[in-house]
Amino acid sequence: MNGTGKKYKENKIKNSSDDTAVAVKSVTKRYRIHHEKIPSLKQTILKLKRTTYEEFLALDDVSFSIKHGETCGIIGPNGSGKSTLLKMLAKIIQPTSGEIIVNGPLSALLELGAGFHPDLTGRENIYINAAILGMKRKDVDRKLNDIIGFSELERFIDMPVKNYSSGMYMRLGFSVAINVNPDILLVDEVLAVGDQSFQAKCYKVIYNFMKSGKTIIIVSHDLETISDLCSKVIFLKDGKIIDIGKPLDIVSKYRAYIEKLEKKRIVEQQRTERKKIFKTVIEGNRKVVDGEEISRLSNLSIDGETINRFGSGDAEITSIGLFNKSERVIDYCSYGDEVKIVCKVLFKENVEEPIFGIRMADYRGNIVYGTNSRLRNVRTGLFKKGDKATVSFFFKVILIGGEYSVSFAVGYNDNKTYCDWINNMFSINVMHRNIAEGIADLDSEMIIEKK
């Protein structure tokens, strides 16, 4: 026993005084990534040393525990360590440090139909797969009809599985797996099996599992499933637990994270696009950007997070903020709120009839709303050197939930040049009841009549 017993403790019999099903205690997993995939015998002998490798921290000091009867979901982006964690719970790989305690028999559905041999028939494969999952031959004999019945493959059961469609293959795998009947079940993205009706059946089985007090740990990217099934959700990122808690809280946190990631990606994409345009202008030895390029650029210039600022500097935007009705600074608002954006400007030189303007854009860079004093025919008069201006925009939030970035500008009255323009100075988070999609909530009414 090379450390196996120390790092992984499995109690075959449920300990009634302790209702913890799974306890993970500061588990860390480091992978070695070999620079050359596998050292061959020749290399090892000739160099007399291991090839170089890097260490990759797949899980970093992760601790949590799951009680008997709980259904726990694990979510996180790709490469966050979800599967590594599941594999360690299933004893397939061992933690580098830390301890995992499992109370009760555990079965892992990391892959459906693992060990199916293509040349053997469905029936023969049931026996092998069941044995791999830890079922006794006697039990398989007893449950054989249930398994075949559940898979709906009666007609094909004595055919080699190489002739099965991938859906049939998965169905057979799932049917065997759910009949193993463990106390603790690990599930990795295997619920999306077969057609709608079969999926419904699978969910029913999982629900029954839950009802009968089994412990289930699910890894899935399907957030709907996770919030539906689970009583507890773990959000993993880069091998660390970001949060553990109620499914709704954690799932919405994860959604926000994904959105942010998506935004970042778009920003990056826009940045390269913009560079490309400027490059063609410079390489073409041109001084002017043509009309089409301007429109492309102006679409790109509002780009989520990058703050860019330009202008003569005759006036300087000193602050911008979002306030609620009672003059309190807020960083988010809800649909229907009445809020104001307040912006302060300090004039460094005399400016005649400056134009104050504001723009809001969604994370893709689409301008959601924009207005300025010129459009509104507001005469602003002369601002002298040293004058301060406070510009407030009042509005009612009728946006769909999400993050919106705000740009603010002070321009000269020629409407072409600017004293100061700051793109995406800050962002507003809008909370919204999830009954609509798009940008604006038109507050529609929906009537469905049946005739």
Partner: protein, 264 residues
């Protein structure tokens, strides 16, 4: 170690299931099916018999029997080792997805080959009966020899299957090693043909001792001139080396096992 054996015992159904699968898969789809495992040694035997009794005229009576009674046990070893080498890698879908004691995979291959070996022996008995060999005289020794050889086969198979995960070249190397081992064992020649000064080297190989037993049990019962069981000390040394290989194989396997899933 005792704990490991207990775990292994609790997984015996899986072991038998995989052994059955191994046997089923081997002959699935071929018209002659299981007959192939009889045909193979028979054809090999015919080729060697032709070369050694007609071309080279080695002067061994009934060369076919002389050869086959040792070829079968040697094939048990070499087939297990050859198939076992890639077995962990070949079952990566299992190793990566399900927990069970990994030695079940190479063990199932050894058991499948043992089963084949026993069937071949049964066929051999029939042939010997027809040719009026009094093979029953020392038959009581046969289970003992097979039992001891089994440990050698298991040890070797565990060793190479585990090492091959980390050194993939072994797969190619092992065929050569097994060929050298084949010619280093008195299978196609009698031990007496080996010059006195090399006898020592060849007797370090435990298979040499076991083949001597097999040959005495099956062949020399009819030709007692060349008969002669290995001495007690030779036998004990062979058993000692066998156990050494078994434990080395077992411990290397157990040492490397936790990293299989990561390396595949």
């Amino acid at each position: 170690m005792i704990k490991n054996f207990r775990t292994l015992f609790s997984y015996r159904e899986l072991l038998f299931s995989l052994t059955r699968k191994e046997l089923k898969v081997k002959y699935r789809g071929s018209a002659l099916g299981f007959l192939w495992s009889l045909l193979n040694p028979i054809l090999t035997m015919l080729v060697y018999s032709f070369v050694f009794s007609i071309v080279l005229r080695a002067g061994i009576q009934e060369f076919a029997i002389f050869l086959i009674c040792v070829l079968l046990p040697f094939n048990f070893l070499s087939n297990s080792v050859n198939y076992g080498t890639g077995s962990i890698i070949g079952n990566s879908n299992l190793v990566n997805k399900i927990y069970f004691p990994r030695e079940i995979i190479p063990l199932s291959i050894v058991l499948a080959n043992l089963f084949n070996f026993l069937l071949e022996l049964a066929a051999l008995f029939i042939v010997l009966g027809i040719l009026r060999y009094p093979f029953y005289i020392y038959l009581y020794l046969l289970p003992v020899v097979i039992f001891i050889q089994f440990f050698l086969v298991v040890g070797m198979t565990l060793l190479v299957s585990a090492l091959n995960v980390f050194f993939r070249d072994l797969q190619h190397l092992i065929t050569i090693i097994m060929m050298v081992w084949f010619f280093g064992t008195p299978v196609i020649y009698p031990l007496s043909m080996v010059p006195e000064k090399y006898q020592f080297i060849i007797k370090i190989n435990p298979m040499t001792i076991y083949t001597a037993y097999y040959r005495n049990i099956f062949y020399f019962v009819k030709y007692p001139d060349g008969a002669g069981f290995p001495s007690v000390s030779e036998t004990l040394i062979a058993i000692g080396i066998t156990l050494l290989i078994f434990f080395v194989g077992y411990f290397v396997f157990k040492k490397l096992e936790p990293r299989f899933a990561e390396e595949i």
